[in-house]
Symmetry: C2
Subunit: 516 residues, 2 copies
């Protein structure tokens, strides 16, 4: 595999899965040329005049889509650990004797571990999407044919619109759909909230299959996905378990250390003047981020401040703030709990959205740069403020990028993280995998104090004279290394690149190597 050193000093391949790629060139440096990809042109004459696109089952739909070896098939992850469609889809594909499929999910979860059997059996060639849990291990151990490609949610849109990834068949699990294919995630027994991550697939795939367990009379409104984009509709017994949407990263922390991190983050935001009338914020779905939202709410109430918008995957905390008038609008791509699901259905100020206008970097601006403060997690941060979110010090793929890279473009990005995990320091000399360049990481808040990126002299000025526990990142590293008994072991990895991390503009930011 021929490698080059990119603008971040990382060695990256120049071809991935046979396709030429650009190395990372610095933030905002790579400018795309040419035009977006267009869907194949169709004629109404080839679709049923009565608008009834229902076919008996997934297999029939796949057959009519012309499924064949080597195709790319996409799914979305709005059900998270409760997804019942992707595994069933690949059961069908396997039964049809089709091989070498590239699976292009918007994210994969532990519930998709059974698909390892299909990677082993050759039904799936490789996966391009987040590689969590067992799938991450499988990939990290070099067992997957093909190289995994990790993209942010915005990067996934960019890859589809730029024509980097051509999806042959998109399969969209929709909690409510009509026979024409209009569908949404707001209603039905498996309601999951927005269907934002499926928007790009519907727009750019050659063929689109909607799988639903709740067929409603035409027209299914509001149509988050328009039926004009849909080729076939399949009715199944159950597409997902909404209760399992609340999984993994979507519960508030109970750890005193982590609560302290959340509280310090809120105090920093207040002291730096970021919490003012009409401000906007985004938090991740991790436990600390959620706790931060609670502290933020208290600060806002105390100071009688309201926010103009909350951006991002939503949950019961911003939903309550919306209902109580503390937030004007929620712009939501994914509901993280059932309260959020109901809110997207019932509250006209809770907007079901997609990564197009929020996260896509190859567009005419996006919402990320308009957000005043984003509070995110990370697995590692180095002394330059470069950050990692996909691997830990052992080098294994553990987490997807999600919207993380996109959110780094907020006016103030805070990584709210413990200074060590399982006695392994999080502040390191060099991140195992570069996922977020240092220029975009403004503040690191740990239980031991707050580090501010020296590039952000404005923030340093803003908090001058406050009693916030500021700490130099190098001192923090020393303290933590003392506690943990030294720096983390370097990862035991070989030379084989098993995955790459793409930047939001489609360039290659870093490589992930086979663990030994």
């Amino acid at each position: 595999m021929e490698m080059v050193v990119n603008a971040a000093g990382r060695r990256v391949p120049i071809r991935i899965n046979g396709q030429a790629v650009f190395p990372f060139q610095g933030i905002g440096q790579y400018k795309p040329t040419g035009r977006m990809v267009g869907r194949p042109l169709r004629s109404c004459a080839d679709y049923p005049a009565d608008g009834d696109k229902v076919v008996p089952d997934i297999k029939t739909a796949l057959q009519q889509c012309g499924l064949r070896d080597g195709m790319t098939i996409s799914t979305h992850h709005h059900f998270r650990e409760g997804d019942l469609v992707a595994n069933r889809l690949f059961d069908c594909i396997a039964e049809m004797g089709v091989r070498d499929i590239r699976w292009f999910p918007s994210a994969a979860f532990v519930c998709h571990a059974p698909l390892i059997n299909y990677l082993e059996a050759g039904v799936i060639h490789h996966i391009e999407g987040s590689m969590n849990g067992p799938l991450g291990d499988y990939c990290s151990e070099g067992k997957m044919r093909g190289t995994a490609v990790l993209r942010s949610h915005g990067g996934r849109w960019q890859a589809l619109q730029d024509g980097e990834v051509h999806v042959d068949i998109a399969v969209i699990a929709a909690p409510a759909a009509d026979r024409f294919g209009n569908c949404n995630g707001a209603r039905g027994p498996s309601a999951c909230g927005p269907l934002g991550y499926a928007e790009a697939d519907a727009q750019f795939a050659d063929k689109v299959i909607v799988v639903t367990d709740h067929l409603v009379p035409f027209p299914c409104t509001p149509w988050h996905i328009q039926g004009q984009l849909v080729d076939y509709v399949v009715l199944v017994d159950k597409i997902g378990i909404p209760e399992k949407i609340v999984a993994g990263t979507t519960q508030i922390t109970k750890s005193p250390d982590r609560l302290r991190i959340a509280e310090l983050t809120a105090k920093f935001a207040e002291a730096a003047g970021l919490i003012r009338n009409g401000f906007s914020f985004q938090t991740g779905a991790g436990g600390i981020s959620l706790a931060f939202t609670k502290y933020l709410e208290e600060t806002m109430r105390r100071n009688k401040i309201t926010a103009s918008f909350y951006l991002g995957g939503s949950n019961q905390l911003p939903v309550r703030m919306l209902e109580e008038g503390l937030i004007d609008t929620i712009i939501d791509i994914q509901a993280f709990d059932l309260q959020a699901v109901c809110s997207t259905r019932d509250n006209p100020h809770h907007i079901a959205c997609g990564p197009f206008t929020t996260y896509n970097y190859h567009g005419k601006g996006n919402f990320n740069t308009l957000t005043d403060i984003a509070v995110l997690g990370a697995t590692q941060v180095d002394l330059e403020y470069n950050a990692n979110v996909v691997t830990h010090s052992d080098g294994r793929l553990k987490h997807g990028i999600g919207g993380w890279q996109n959110c780094l473009f907020a006016k103030c990005t805070v990584l709210a993280i413990p200074s060590f995990r399982d006695r392994i320091p999080v502040i390191v000399d060099k991140v195992t995998t570069l996922t977020g360049p240092a220029e975009l990481v403004d503040v690191v808040v740990t239980e031991r104090g707050i580090c501010i990126n020296p590039r952000r002299t404005d923030l340093l000025d803003a908090i001058k004279g406050t009693k916030l526990p500021l700490i130099d990142i190098k001192s923090l590293q020393h303290t933590v290394q003392d506690i943990c008994g030294g720096a983390p072991e370097p990862p035991h990895v070989g030379e084989q690149v098993v995955a790459v991390v793409k930047w939001v503009d489609g360039t290659v930011l870093d490589s992930i190597y086979r663990v030994l």
Copy 2:
């Protein structure tokens, strides 16, 4: 100009304005190949990080869009006779000294007559869009450089997505917008309802300018047009006069003959079994169509029937039926009066939509074919049921196609028309301009009786035994000719093609000739 005879027996050019075109090949016969056009790829790095795309005035926006001679500029017609943006836009273009612009409006109105000056002066090269009133005369008299191209609303989307028409700069008049360019037509002092006709322009133009008189804080929701599609935002004093939306064709008839036509149409629909629970309908904005809606409402009340959806430009009549539970959903592309404007804003079952999923023929089905009955107007019908909607017997361009061609695909299409106008028969041997092929015209209802296309044996069967005043179209023609003193004079036209009518698939259906 080289001409061929198309599948409808009409002579049509093989090149229009230097571009090769296909002759009409029969309904559903022409199948497009290849892919849709894609927008140019952009980078967020080139757009303001604070999301503020406001520039001081239209001229600045045009300059920054790189306006130059020969470009194509599009506008939409949601303000109808109340539009204040298109004329002002061309004032700016003229002041900038730019020439030979192709104007691509979704429709033009009498209020745009001042643009004739710019056609004369060379600022505008030619117009591709509906040619009504003075613009129609100007074109009919052969004074316009270039050939006018008349398209249906669905055909306009098709032309944009198929790449037939490349728009350099789209100018969208938006009653409410934020600085990022998110905008809608539902709010603000100039609220006009949906912005459906501007959707395609926003999606396919190289550059997009939003002109508003009501700048709201980010985010402007619901965003009918997404800000990610927008390059510049301009704030002006006033973009339109909503009171003038109700103009020309949008008032209920008071003529006893025409009321009789509307009543007969409703009686036919009832007798033919078309008005049943869950049925759907579309009517045009003409006086007879509106009166039909009133009779239909009475029929529905009497029989305790509710409709699943009303499709099309909406007005106070379907709005009241929606509010009273007689219609479940209005799917609306354009509000025809202020009651409709308010309803799109306030009623979640009044869906602001665009011609993409309703009318576009080069898609995966559309809503037109799902509609049970469409009641439309026409200027002429021949004995084969071919129909005309753009010229009268004098051959002059008088009306745009609007959604008319698209609506012909309803399960039952009724032309509800007087048998003569100004003592000129409407039933003719040969329509002056073929706009709708006979296969799609099912019923012609006049004040003298109902003609049913003999192809529709099912409809003839359905009304067998009823007392409806059926009349053979040939007998009707004789009666009308007796009243009017013979057949209409043939139009006094020459050989020069001044305009063409496109079919919904982009093929050329007929030519319109210079009047002598």
